[in-house]
């Protein structure tokens, strides 16, 4: 990273002030750093944008935590960064949630059953990981607690 600013959170105004440059130059610089992966942005629209500067380029996480935090009302703090190359679906995330296995993760994972598009894929993965019983148990729990799609009969216990 060629800028001399330390990692941390900035608005465009604080960034410009600390760099000693104009607001427009600050926007240009932040935009360049964002392209290189050193800056992530939150806010926008009605909210003021907050720019987070990182020491190393960040790749957007797209794995288990991205899916579960998109769909579950109770959000999880990632215990590891998860990146996936390929088609990672809600079915994969259910299996990963069961493998992680703590109570909070399982609670959040229940909400993914509403987004299952392929029961075959879910049970193929479950059979591969020998987690069929656990998938049924979590599905039954999800049926009691949330609105969930009905599992096709051929996959039921």
């Amino acid at each position: 990273m060629d800028n001399h600013m330390g990692p941390g959170k900035y608005t465009v105004e604080t960034f410009a002030r600390e760099e000693g440059i104009t607001r427009q130059s600050a926007l240009n610089k932040l935009s360049k750093l964002k392209r290189e992966g050193y800056v992530t942005i939150s806010g926008g629209g009605q909210q003021k944008r907050i720019y987070t500067l990182h020491k190393t380029p960040q790749q957007p996480a797209n794995g288990f935590y991205a899916i579960v935090n998109k769909y579950a009302p109770e959000k999880l703090v990632p215990t590891f960064k998860h990146h996936v190359v390929g088609n990672y679906t809600a079915e994969h995330a259910i299996i990963d949630g069961i493998k992680i296995g703590d109570a909070r993760t399982l609670e959040a994972t229940q909400h993914l059953f509403r987004h299952v598009t392929s029961w075959k894929r879910l049970f193929d993965l479950a059979r591969k990981e020998e987690l069929t019983t656990e998938v049924h148990a979590l599905y039954n729990k999800a049926r009691n607690n949330t609105r969930v799609k009905r599992m096709p009969k051929r996959y039921q216990e």
Binding site: G37, K55, T56, H82, V84, V85, G86, Y88
Partner: protein
């Protein structure tokens, strides 16, 4: 040399050639690239849990044209004789260094705590775990190849928050498996003193551990 984007595509391609799901741990330059410390590496270092898993991986890269290479010119005599030496495979400019559980006496397993996980979903799933930056530094100190010291310095310059105590814990816990580990680590830390402050208490601990280890012999 291979850059981050090419490495991602290569792993995705390998996942398509794997006959079954595989999990491994990335160390060295590969891990540094994933963690954003560098943009390119010459060697892709992977550690598998068993010989069988390594052979599965070798079969997949064999189909892609990677050929086994002798360890000469890369590792010194002492490391070439060590049980925890890798098997090397090369094709063009990139090279795989493939270890099984043991990197010159430093034990690594996919079961241990990891900070990042990368999944490549092809015909089968290829999963790569990344360890902590302290593990990376100890491993670089243990392998001590041409660019390893340079890589350690890169990590130190970017990361101001190295837990030297944890780093020593990890090295001392495994020192029995490689009598040179603490000596190599001490040499590395001495060189690092040029660019960062390492409190003297850590060196004292290192020397005490060394004495205890040699006292037992």
């Amino acid at each position: 040399m291979i850059n981050t984007a090419d490495q991602e595509q290569l792993f995705k391609l390998i996942a398509d050639y794997l006959p079954k799901d595989l999990v491994c741990v990335a160390i060295g330059g590969t891990a540094m690239m994933f963690l954003g410390y560098k943009n390119a590496t010459r060697d892709i270092d992977l550690v598998f849990d068993s010989e069988g898993e390594r052979n599965t991986f070798i079969a997949a890269i064999g189909e892609l044209g990677y050929k086994e290479k002798a360890l000469a010119d890369v590792y010194d005599e002492r490391r070439k004789k060590h049980a925890g030496k890798p098997r090397m495979f090369t094709r063009g400019e990139e090279r795989f260094d493939l270890f099984v559980k043991d990197v010159f006496g430093y034990e690594i397993s996919t079961k241990q705590e990891f900070t990042e996980r990368r999944d490549y979903l092809g015909k089968n799933e290829f999963t790569i775990h990344l360890l902590t930056k302290e593990d990376l530094i100890v491993l670089k100190a243990v392998t001590r190849r041409e660019k390893d010291q340079e890589d350690i310095e890169t990590i130190i310059k970017i990361e101001k928050s190295i837990d030297w105590g944890l780093l020593l814990d990890k090295a001392i816990a495994q020192a029995k498996r490689n009598e040179w580990m603490l000596i190599d680590l001490e040499a590395t830390l001495q060189e690092l003193k040029r660019i960062t402050f390492i409190p003297g208490k850590h060196f004292k601990r290192l020397y005490e551990a060394q004495e205890r280890l040699h006292g037992k012999r």
